[in-house]
Subunit: 473 residues, 2 copies
């Protein structure tokens, strides 16, 4: 694709649409829109202009202008992504949703909240808590990410074992299409089979098929009780082997089964000045249960605790109050930031395998760690088979060695997961980071279907180009 | 579109692919493939040939042949649909999945069952029950429908309030595309954001985007306890007004909240020779709760029972054993067949509104009943806002009057539901029956997107043409 550059005349037209204060074109202020939270800057690209529209009408006008002049447009939430999805690969326009951050309606009768895309995910639960309701989306960046970005990447997170991922809760989406039309998909009805499922086509499409402007999210009654178990295991193998057993033998679907190896756990504790004794343990599971019956939860946590102790656990800490639970979860949520601070040369990755294949995946990943002489601390949403390996530069190796080895190691990890029936990304997305590896998990026919859908809905290929697949005509 | 007719030479080629005994081309045996379970035959069309393939390879060859000769192909499950989805609108080939009826694998570690599309939905639960597992799909035709058809229509059913519809449980789909390619979408991984959500694009696409050949379905631990409440109300309004209240004030998401008006309930009882006293009541709710704690369920059923009694209920029958529960559910499941037997001139319909709008929808539907002088008994999955109005010919009117009035009445009903924020179909699909009304719920931009996706994936428009939308080039 040949895209055009943004001219001063186009800037004037953009100012006409969103107002001067919502058009950013000086390099210093543009830099923040050139990257997401990937640690290394190799995936960053500078936009030519960043816009902060306030309405679907403004976004529609921007898209029509972009089609007229053939300018690429990249939508952006909080920029907390980890696959380069919000990075303007070909320059052009970034549309930031930061000003579209209003909670529009809390509808208690229909158990729905209606929000703009720039609402921080955590604010949803803050807003509905006093009505005894909750939204089950819980990415680890819940305190900073935008719900619009969660939908664009179909974010998973800590509660997906029991509650599923973001997409399950999205019943309506107002969308500006790549050609600048406004489509109001779904709404407050909870069932609807009239036509293709365009909502799920938008969910996880990484901003390549539409820009969300209004979102209808399903809420549920907040469970009255929660218990968290932090279970310490001697080694990774015994911890990870428990995961399929909990659901099969325990006959319980926990809210969460999070895995942390000791290195990740301890590094996050250090980062947070947190002091939880983990001596002698090589890996941890953080297991959450929720429900309305305290007795039932006590019973379930006993079943799971015993099952763990029978299978090589060293110790089980139980948190049955919000403060202690939050202490445990804070460690889990901060692992990524802690690794980034420890070592700037770190790949914050995301892969997935069928739950039964987690032990084999972890063993083979450790073999790869040895083969490449690169440490691969690992954590993640083990209950979903969704792991976050974080390979980082061995202090004993040179930067040249690191940059030479890391693409080969990552390719081997992705291939391993795909061969085990998994995928190259469970929740972070393909973005511009994992395009070369998509072929490990999608057959040529699926890549062709993806391209055909993209071309059908975005004939000028101007919405978030260079993501998921490269389309060359 | 101009399609070609099937010649004797093409029949020979089809025999070559699936074998002579799996090719049906005599009119007497073809008739069964010309219609689904819609009561009146106005939507029926005869195929020229029906095929019973046994593998994805055979289906792939059929599709390649159909593309070569420009022959329309209509996939078919059990034919239990109610929107004409499996009807060969333009003749040509029907592909019946009746021979692809094997349960291929029960994977207890990953909580998945892998099946062929022709498996009867109920057989899934029969197969996994002894392992303490279950599949939450529960269309009212569960004893006869095929799971492939459930996916094609994204069937809802009796447990969707708590568990969601069919699509939530589908993690992998092997599909033959309209052009005869074989695509293996997803699998046993429970999270995956690599590329567009092609699985959800297939789900509910009514056989227009692909033919399913293998299905990966998520299972859950079977809840240990179930309680059903049959609540009798004086009139429709008091019953239906309870629905949003149960979830809002009760803070409980029941497994099911089914609504039946007295006419539907009594007609089904008569059909089944069932004798449950309902004197003085105008409408019923059948409410199911499930969970692992008997105490918790007793508590919840008391909350709901009291809430109903405080809001105009006459009586609450409680079923806490499988036999009594099944008696109640059998009445609910057989309402459709009972109405069909009572009156051949009946529209077994399906609409949906936001839960909060059910009372208004029901009141306005009763006004329409009076206006047109057509009885509209109604029942359905009220907990989802999904209603099944069944208008039938008034015995006092002529057939001419019926055929003149019914399209206008149905159009008014669909318009009413769309105007209330609902849709023209909650679970039956558009098929060939509701195409004229799709515009009530989809904007022109959404219909255009639908057509573009269809053309992108089925360039010759040969897979189930004449369904959902008409595409004229």
């Amino acid at each position: 694709m040949k895209y055009n550059k943004i001219t001063p005349q186009i800037i004037d037209e953009l100012i006409e649409i969103v107002g001067e204060r919502n058009v950013i074109y000086d390099n210093e202020n543009l830099e923040q829109y050139s990257h997401d939270e990937i640690a290394e800057k190799v995936y960053a690209h500078m936009p030519e202009v960043a816009l902060k529209p306030s309405s679907e009408e403004e976004i529609s006008k921007i898209m029509k202008l972009a089609n007229k002049y053939l300018i690429p447009v990249t939508p952006r939430g909080a920029g907390s992504g980890l696959s380069g999805g919000a990075v303007p690969q070909y320059g052009g326009i970034v549309i930031s949703t930061e000003k579209m951050n209003k909670i529009l309606e809390i509808d208690k009768e229909n158990l729905m909240i209606v929000v703009e895309p720039g609402v921080v995910t955590n604010e949803i639960n803050d807003a509905v808590k006093e009505d005894g309701l909750f939204y089950a989306g819980y990415p680890m960046s819940v305190e900073s990410c935008y719900v619009g970005g969660n939908i664009a990447e179909n974010a998973g997170g800590g509660k997906a074992v029991k509650y599923g991922v973001t997409g399950r809760y999205i019943y309506g989406l107002d969308v500006v299409t790549p050609t600048g039309e406004i489509a109001h998909l779904g709404g407050k009805r909870v069932k609807d089979v009239a036509g293709y499922d365009l909502i799920h086509l938008m969910i996880g499409s990484e901003g390549t098929l539409g820009i969300f402007t209004k979102i209808y999210i399903k809420l549920m009654p907040l469970p009255k009780e929660t218990i968290d178990l932090l279970v310490l295991f001697k080694d990774i193998d015994s911890a990870i082997s428990m995961v399929p057993k909990i659901m099969t033998f325990g006959k319980v679907i926990p809210t969460s089964i999070e895995f942390m190896d000791a290195a990740s756990f301890e590094n996050s504790c250090k980062y947070l000045n947190e002091n939880i004794s983990s001596e002698g343990s090589g890996a941890m599971l953080l297991i959450e249960l929720d429900g309305n019956s305290k007795d039932e939860l006590d019973n379930e946590s006993e079943i799971i605790g015993n099952l763990c102790m029978d299978n090589g656990a060293i110790d089980v800490y139980i948190a049955d109050n919000a403060t202690t639970s939050e202490r445990m979860w804070k460690i889990r949520r901060n692992i990524t930031d802690a690794w980034k601070q420890t070592n700037p040369h770190v790949v914050l990755d995301d892969v997935v395998v069928p739950v039964s294949k987690i032990p084999e995946c972890m063993r083979k990943m450790q073999e790869l760690s040895k083969k490449y002489d690169i440490p691969i601390p690992c954590y993640g949403h083990a209950g979903d088979g969704n792991l976050h390996p974080n390979p980082h530069k061995n202090p004993n190796s040179t930067l040249d060695e690191w940059y030479e080895k890391i693409p080969r190691l990552m390719s081997d990890i992705y291939k391993l997961c795909a061969d085990l029936g998994g995928s190259v990304t469970g929740e972070h997305g393909i973005g511009n980071k994992k395009k070369p590896y998509l072929k490990f998990v999608l057959e040529p026919v699926q890549i062709e279907m993806t391209k055909r859908i993209k071309k059908a809905l975005d004939p000028n290929l101007i919405l978030n180009p260079g993501k998921i697949v490269d389309i060359c005509d």
